[in-house]
């Protein structure tokens, strides 16, 4: 074979190799939902992101770190407070979501209703502010497995982070967090609501017995 053809072939092989590696990496970074075609368009992706105060490495840490764990159904959403940024007209509206507690696994024992405050809703000018880092707006009539903390300065609960909400779809838990390889999210994802709740109760019982 002539040298020039050999060199040309070598360059082509190198180019194909580089292209293949870039392609594999790109595919590897799609979310599971994208790979399954559930997200049709990238603009459907969340439009907010956060540094959470608490991020947990294991389900046990999450369970120990929250004040309440409930399987509950959203039944009412009302506007709550509007927080203003210092020295500016920037606003963060909040809404209050009322939940009917179906099964309390931790805290909220004996409570029929709990209230969760979350960022989002209408600002003072009536414009919708869509903050979806926590999974977005709750839907009235739908059930959720929630991991909640009591507000320090208020009477309500708040969702601990994006590891702390699982939408019940069919009878399965669907995580709202988008971070890949999140062990907490993966632990609850696709369990039935009953299984998820039972697992939480077992872990709480095990920890109590351990103490």
């Amino acid at each position: 074979m002539k040298t020039k053809y050999f060199l040309l072939g070598t360059i082509v092989a190198a180019g194909l190799g580089l292209s293949a590696s870039a392609m594999f990496s790109w595919q590897g970074h799609q979310t599971a939902e994208q790979a399954e075609g559930k997200i049709a368009c990238e603009t459907d992706m969340p439009r907010s992101a956060a540094v959470w105060k608490e991020v947990y490495s294991t389900p046990d840490q999450l369970i120990a770190g929250v004040d309440a764990i409930v399987l509950a159904e959203a039944f009412n959403i009302t506007p709550s407070r509007i927080a203003r940024s210092e020295g500016s007209s920037d606003e963060v509206p909040f809404e209050l979501v009322a939940f009917r507690v179906n099964n309390p696994a931790k805290g909220a024992k004996g409570e029929e209703l709990i209230y969760v405050e979350r960022a989002g809703g209408m600002d003072s000018k009536g414009r919708e502010v869509n903050i979806d880092i926590d999974g977005g707006r709750f839907e009235i009539g739908k059930s959720y497995l929630l991991f909640l903390k009591k507000q320090e300065e208020g009477p309500y609960f708040y969702q601990i982070n994006d590891q702390g909400r699982y939408d019940v779809v069919g009878d399965e838990l669907k995580a709202v967090g988008k971070i890949e390889n999140d062990k907490v999210k993966e632990f609850f994802e696709n369990k039935t609501a009953g299984e998820g709740l039972r697992t939480v109760e077992e872990k709480i019982r095990f920890n109590l017995d351990g103490k």
Partner: protein
């Protein structure tokens, strides 16, 4: 040279290229959806107050590895606005669960028109957080606005949301930003 030897060499070259090319693929990682500003020149409204003004300024423009000089992004000082604006704020937002929040207030397709970064003083001023921690959060929220997602794989970048001790973008963030804009 025999064809068999030539093919072996080409296969070897292909394999080596795949191995060495993996870092190229990482350019595609840690992107936040498809979000980006229209171009690398972005109107920058530092609406921070007190030391938060300084923190935003340092992370965005004046630290040697701040977003603006360290990457291809150029932040043009501006007042508040809704077109091609990155706005930065702080406030006492209460028990929300988040130390910092990045919000794309207005987008057109994949193009960000109005992004807002916020630092939650209800937590950050509680005495539990150092100035470095606050800078880390500010750096990350601003990085989100430019189109970057969390990166839990590296500990030397502010885009890691499980630590608060790396208040700067790293070389990977820089490459990624420069490939986006």
């Amino acid at each position: 040279m025999k064809l068999r030897h030539v093919l072996s060499i080409w296969i070897a070259v292909f394999g080596i290229a795949v191995f060495l090319g993996t870092p190229l693929g990482s350019w595609a990682s840690h992107r936040w959806g498809c979000w980006k500003y229209a171009d690398a020149t972005i109107n920058w409204n530092n609406g921070g107050t007190g030391d938060y003004f300084n923190i935003y300024n340092e992370e965005a423009k004046t630290d040697s590895n701040a977003w603006s000089p360290y990457t291809d992004i150029f932040l043009s000082p501006s007042g508040s606005g809704t077109t091609d604006h990155a706005n930065a704020y702080n406030g006492f937002y209460g028990s929300t669960g988040w130390l910092g929040l990045a919000e794309l207030r207005s987008v057109s397709g994949c193009t960000v028109r109005n992004g807002r970064a916020r630092l939650n003083q209800s937590y950050l001023d509680s005495g539990s957080y150092t100035r470095t921690n606050k800078k880390h959060v500010a750096c990350q929220e601003v990085g989100h606005l430019f189109g970057l997602e969390h990166n839990r794989g590296e500990t030397n970048t502010c885009m890691n949301d499980t630590i608060l001790t790396a208040p700067q973008p790293n070389a990977h963030d820089r490459s990624l930003i420069n490939s986006i804009y």
